[in-house]
Amino acid sequence: MISKPNLTFIALCLFITTIFTVMLFKTRESIYREVGPTTTQEAVSYLKELNIKKEELHKEKESLELRKRQLSAAYVEKGEFIDLVNNEINKLEGYLGYKRVSGLGIKIVLESPEGYIVSVETILDLINDLWSSGAVAITINEKRVTWETYFELTEEDLLMNEMEINQPYLIEVIGPEDVIRGTMYMPGGFVEKMQLRGINVEITKNVPLDLPSRGD
């Protein structure tokens, strides 16, 4: 038989019960951020990213080895070497947006039927997607996106380097068209996100582009 209950024991039980009740109803599990993938899906996505990076590094290695062979040759023509460096400088100036560039790419037109202004986050998201799919030059409404480019949103306008950019937003991109298009249309990608917000996205590929420099 159970003896007369000890009041201290009952109090302790009530105390523990109360703690658990508070923990359950006032909090959830604490946030724990992993620094590696925690699910198979995440690991697969991460692996895909790593493989793209590895492929890029292999290509870079090939070109570096070629360059090294050229430079190590017993006799290097001074003129040839200077031409090589000048060509690189020219390309870098194009890449930085100091000069006009041309190439094949895609055109993206964003338009909201209700005149909804695209947020800074959306534009940053789009530019991030474009760079990550291999874009080498981007313009928005014929203004070149460079290192110095930044965006702000006022009550009525979206500003790019303090200049208003209006709808429809025309984004021209030089880069690997199929990869860029694929990234835009992937499930949960930019096009799907825009459609959910009621913004029309029109993408035209295989377009010969001539993009202005940042000063134009």
Partner: protein, 236 residues
């Protein structure tokens, strides 16, 4: 007496139920190894290791090329040309940059998520880092790094699950965003930025960690990304 026995029974059931729910919560985290997906975990580690090795090899090749170029640059004109190229590379994020600036530190909240709240507000997301970079650029930042990764013009900040990646490399919290530029302009832009006001609100209400510190000397490493100068022609 019966009442006392009944009381203890009910109390045991309730306590057991609560402990059970708590335990259930603590084992609900998904663990790859526990799921038996060891193959993919090993493959991922293997690819990551080989990518790092490849990166090191390429860095070694770059150094050798630089050495060979310096040997060839026998006159002032060639040296000046090489310097011009290095300056452009540095502007694009592919050369070491040194200067004054500031560091913005962001980290997830240490607080427990309140029942009524969305856990989203307690975490730092990739979109926050993109927004911080945008704000710093508006303050005239000439060079920026996140963690150990230097940003270049075409850098991408993405996430896979909760893991934030910069140019395909995993970045661990706390996220240190270093920017070289005029510290006063950078600090002013941060003070007036609506995005930073939102972060301060999240800090005050959800406990995310936010810090801004001016540094007299910052050294940003070159970007480890491959510089892709193909696919376009420069027009006169």
């Amino acid at each position: 007496m019966r009442n006392i026995i009944f009381f203890f029974l009910v109390l045991s059931i309730i306590t057991g139920l609560l402990i059970g729910v708590q335990l259930k919560n603590s084992v609900s985290k998904i663990d790859l190894s526990a799921m038996g997906d060891l193959d993919i975990l090993f493959l991922w580690r293997e690819v990551e290791k080989s990518t790092e090795e490849l990166q090191k090899e390429n860095n070694g090749l770059k150094n050798e090329i630089k050495k060979l170029e310096n040997e060839i640059s026998f006159d002032e004109d060639t040296t000046a040309l090489l310097k011009k190229r290095e300056d452009l590379k540095t502007k694009a994020g592919f050369g070491t940059m040194i200067g004054t600036g500031l560091v913005v530190t962001l980290a997830d909240s240490n607080q427990k998520v309140r029942e009524r709240d969305d856990p989203y507000f307690y975490l730092i997301h990739d979109s926050y880092l993109r927004a911080v970079v945008n704000v710093l650029k508006s303050g005239g930042a000439r060079g920026i790094s996140i963690g150990s990764e230097r940003l270049n013009i075409g850098s991408k900040i993405t996430c896979v699950g909760k893991v934030i990646m910069v140019d395909g490399k995993r970045i661990a919290p706390p996220y240190e965003i270093k920017a070289i530029g005029d510290p006063v302009s950078l600090a002013n832009i941060i003070r007036t930025s609506s995005f930073f006001r939102m972060l301060e609100h999240y800090r005050d209400n959800f406990g995310i960690q936010l810090g801004v510190k001016i540094l007299p000397l910052i050294e940003l490493p070159p970007s480890q990304e491959s510089l892709n100068l193909e696919l376009f022609e420069v027009l006169p």
